[in-house]
């Protein structure tokens, strides 16, 4: 006997992701899924963003790592609410891990929640966690061919930060080829070149964040 199923393999995960989204919507919190390779600068971007939005927008952070509290400790020094998830081996966050973590974050006190995913360009793109926007951080030393090697990640991105742009003179990274590859996959995505070391482009990035937070307010 054949039974029709017609259900996504990740449908259980997607259902919990939808619950997470509804909770965030109810609390009026904009949630951003931060994805990148290891070492691209996820935590540095979050730290720059916290300091740039200080006095304007309250930020909370969920840190995802396979092991350790190193990143959460760095964030905690900024006096913002932070919760560390250790996946203990899994290479991505899933909706259920985030659901548990959301209980540990004072959602009534924050406007934006950054969820730093595991450093990985593959499966982090496949597991929905309930966030509103996908931020992908690339960096110059990784090379400009990454969009073509990891197409799904660049297809799901709402905004891409190209970090470490100050290293351009020491690299053969081709910004035009990069933009062309990205736009081919995803014509709506915004690409912003930044450097967490020099501060280049950070204002433009903060502008994007503020715009999204404002849109969220209007939807409330």
């Amino acid at each position: 006997m054949e039974i029709k199923v017609l259900k996504d393999v990740l449908s259980a995960n997607d259902r919990i992701a939808l619950e997470n989204r509804r909770l965030l919507d109810k609390k009026g919190v904009l949630a951003i899924n931060v994805m990148a390779s290891p070492g691209a600068g996820k935590t540095s971007v979050i730290l720059q963003t916290i300091s740039g939005l200080k006095n304007e927008i309250s930020v909370g952070v969920i840190e995802g790592d396979v092991q350790s509290r190193i990143d959460a400790d760095r964030i905690a020094q900024e006096n913002v609410p932070v919760y560390q998830i250790n996946t203990g081996g899994e290479c991505h966050l899933d909706a259920n891990m985030v659901k548990r973590a959301l209980k540990e974050i004072p959602l009534d006190d924050i406007d934006i929640l950054f969820i730093e995913n595991i450093g990985n360009l593959i499966c982090t793109a496949e597991f929905k966690i309930g966030t509103h926007k996908n931020l992908v951080i690339a960096s110059v030393p990784e090379g400009h061919d990454k969009p073509l090697k990891y197409p799904l990640m660049f297809t799901v991105a709402d905004v891409i930060l190209v970090n470490k742009i100050d290293l351009l003179p020491y690299s053969n990274f081709d910004t035009q080829a990069y933009r062309k590859a990205v736009k081919g996959l995803n014509d709506k995505v915004e690409v912003i070149e930044i450097s967490c070391a020099t501060g280049h482009g950070i204002d433009k990035w903060l502008g994007w964040v503020k715009k999204q937070a404002k849109n969220m307010d209007m939807d409330k």
């Binding site: 006997m1 054949e2 199923v5 393999v9 449908s11 899994e90 499966c123 799904l152």
Partner: protein, 113 residues
């Protein structure tokens, strides 16, 4: 590593549907997988054997139907298969191409006793 979590989702889904149908044994699982869904058949098969052990689905055969990556040109509406990640419309040469197929990963049906 992510095949483990994906395969766990697959096993849960299959067992849920099989039990609801009152099945004694799952013989075959028909999976539809887009080229961009990013998993490896052999890897999924390996995890499947581990994760389904001791269940009514432990002897089921996994059958994969591959869906090629497909795009639609936003300029001229042409739909075409994207080979070798070449996101250029074959008719009008535009690179303004929307992804329409290739990301899916779902269970189409199961065959049970």
């Amino acid at each position: 590593m992510h095949e483990l979590a994906i395969t766990q989702g697959l096993v849960d889904l299959v067992l849920d549907h099989a039990k609801r149908a009152g099945a004694k044994k799952v013989l075959k699982i028909n999976v539809v997988a887009g080229e961009l869904s990013g998993y490896v058949d052999e890897c999924m098969q390996f995890y499947y054997e581990q994760l389904s052990k001791g269940t009514i689905a432990e002897e089921a055969r996994l059958s994969f139907k591959r869906i090629p990556t497909q795009g639609r040109c936003r300029e001229c509406n042409k739909e075409f298969v994207i080979a070798d990640m070449n996101w250029i419309c074959p008719d009008c040469n535009s690179s303004n191409v929307q992804l329409v197929k290739g990301m899916e990963l779902f269970v189409e049906s199961i065959e049970v006793d």
